[in-house]
């Protein structure tokens, strides 16, 4: 059996990508949490195509439900502690101070970075040798 050192770099890249794929269980965990939340899910975007690696949720809260926003951020933090990923900080918009009428929040789960380009999409100059010679 090949040791880690003898493995191809591409095999390790592939293994890392597979480890990032969202499992059914992890998605169910997210769904269960937001069923309890009063947040309205305005939109959900999966990243990574067939084998999704990340999910971005766009949420809104009525003014009275604003404190729930903090509970959902706590769940988001715990989820990443359990599942890993490169979490981007939540984006939060509060409409109305000091008493919010509406709170909008976007939460990312997992890896939501742009997917790798296919070789056919690689543009630009011919990469025979770089600037450093």
């Amino acid at each position: 059996m090949a040791t880690t050192r003898e493995k191809r770099g591409s095999e390790k890249v592939m293994a890392a990508w597979k480890a990032r794929v969202l499992t059914e269980a992890s998605i169910k965990e997210i769904a269960a949490s937001f069923e309890k939340s009063p947040a309205t899910i305005e939109g959900a975007t999966f990243f990574g195509g067939e084998h999704s690696t990340g999910l971005s949720l766009s949420l809104s809260y009525e003014g009275d439900d604003g404190p729930w926003c903090g509970n959902d951020i706590l769940f988001w933090l715990k989820w990443h502690l359990g599942h890993g990923g490169n979490p981007r900080p939540p984006r939060i918009i509060i409409n109305g101070t000091p008493f919010p009428d509406l709170v909008r929040m976007e939460l990312d789960f997992g890896h939501v970075a742009e997917q790798a380009a296919g070789l056919q999409d690689l543009a630009g100059e011919i990469g025979a040798i770089g600037v450093h010679g």
Partner: protein
């Protein structure tokens, strides 16, 4: 403007790559020039000054100084200043371990881009550099370069086993303020041929590196350049990759020209067959004469023929995902003629006190 200034295979100015010394503070496992602490070969500044002037006249617009460790070449500031006087862009490639403020300050204003070798995670880097603590020493010196405001980038040597480390290096570049990462495939030349004989990356590893570079570069805002081309690029850019014959312009067929620490002048890459080398700088007349004689003897045409063969083979029945073009051309040059090396001029190589 000469054709060679605009139509090199990379779209960049033709590069004169000088290895002025084989002295180095470390002896890396993958070193193609077999440099190290005990190596003493060094080229005199006067010889290289003449070479620079000739190269500028021949259309070379960039001086890339490598080694050995360039910071151990004492006349380096004078060499860089001479290149600047000739209107050349200057770059140096360093392992970064000796980049102290004392060493860097006299050079900072003379260098357009500094390339620092980073070959993976700290553990991986130290293994390939065969020096414990090498990574820590290099990264500790980055602040010296940053404070000088000289643009700097990282060079990562891609092997068969380390495409997964590219992410670490690109993230490090983003965190440390490096503008670019150049991914250079390992070639089985010099010490690498002995210590890492099976580590040359194949087409799958090159293609993986291209994909990782594209994705991570965009995500992290770092320019990542892989010295490899895809099958589609090969097909589309034949006119840039295969020079027209008869070749009358050195820079058109050799957009990268290497001067080794023993004075040998080599077109494209170290692995080009010895009979296709231009000769030694110590021979009468210097680089200009070497270039004239080489072209007159058909060296340019034979190199162009090797490019044509490489292109035809790579775009034939079995098309690879990606290739390191110069490696492929070098393989064709070895098929063209039997190995019969050019010997460096005996008076050329000096040993500093």
């Amino acid at each position: 403007m000469a054709e060679s200034q605009t139509s090199s295979p990379t779209g960049i100015a033709p590069v004169l790559q000088i290895h002025p010394t084989r002295r180095c503070n470390i002896a890396c496992a993958h070193c193609y020039s077999v440099s190290g602490p005990t190596a003493r070969e060094e080229l005199p500044l006067e010889l290289l000054s003449g070479c620079l002037a000739d190269a500028a006249r021949l259309g070379y617009r960039q001086l890339a100084v490598s080694g050995g460790e360039p910071l151990l070449y004492r006349p380096l500031p004078d060499l860089l200043a001479r290149a600047r006087e000739l209107g050349m862009v200057t770059t140096i490639t360093s392992n970064g371990m000796l980049l102290t403020a004392r060493r860097w300050e006299p050079l900072a204003a003379l260098v357009d881009v500094l390339a620092i070798s980073i070959d993976g995670t700290p553990e991986e880097h130290d293994v390939i550099r065969r020096c414990d603590g090498a990574f820590a020493r290099t990264t500790a010196n980055l602040e010296v370069v940053r404070s000088s405001e000289t643009p700097f980038g990282f060079i990562f040597t891609l092997t068969q086993h380390n495409a997964d480390s590219l992410e670490f290096v690109i993230r490090l570049a983003a965190e440390e303020g490096a503008r670019s990462v150049q991914v250079h495939p390992l070639t089985a030349v010099g010490r690498a041929a002995e210590t890492m004989p099976h580590a040359r990356p194949d087409e799958i590893e090159l293609a993986t590196a291209l994909c990782e570079a594209s994705m991570l570069g965009r995500e992290l805002g770092v320019v990542v350049h892989v010295d490899a081309i895809t099958a589609d690029q090969l097909r589309e850019h034949r006119c840039s990759l295969v020079p027209r014959t008869p070749v009358t312009d050195l820079a058109a067929v050799a957009p990268v020209l290497i001067v080794d620490a023993d004075g040998t002048v080599i077109p494209l890459t170290h692995d080009v067959s010895p009979p296709l080398r231009l000769g030694s700088l110590g021979e009468a007349g210097g680089l200009a004469t070497l270039a004239d004689e080489w072209l007159a003897a058909g060296g340019g045409d034979r190199l162009a023929e090797a490019c044509g063969r490489a292109w035809a083979e790579l775009t034939g029945a079995i098309v690879p995902l990606a290739v390191y073009w110069y490696d492929e051309v070098a393989a064709q040059t070895r098929a063209l003629a039997p190995a019969d090396g050019v010997r460096p001029h005996p008076e050329l190589v000096t040993t500093p006190a």
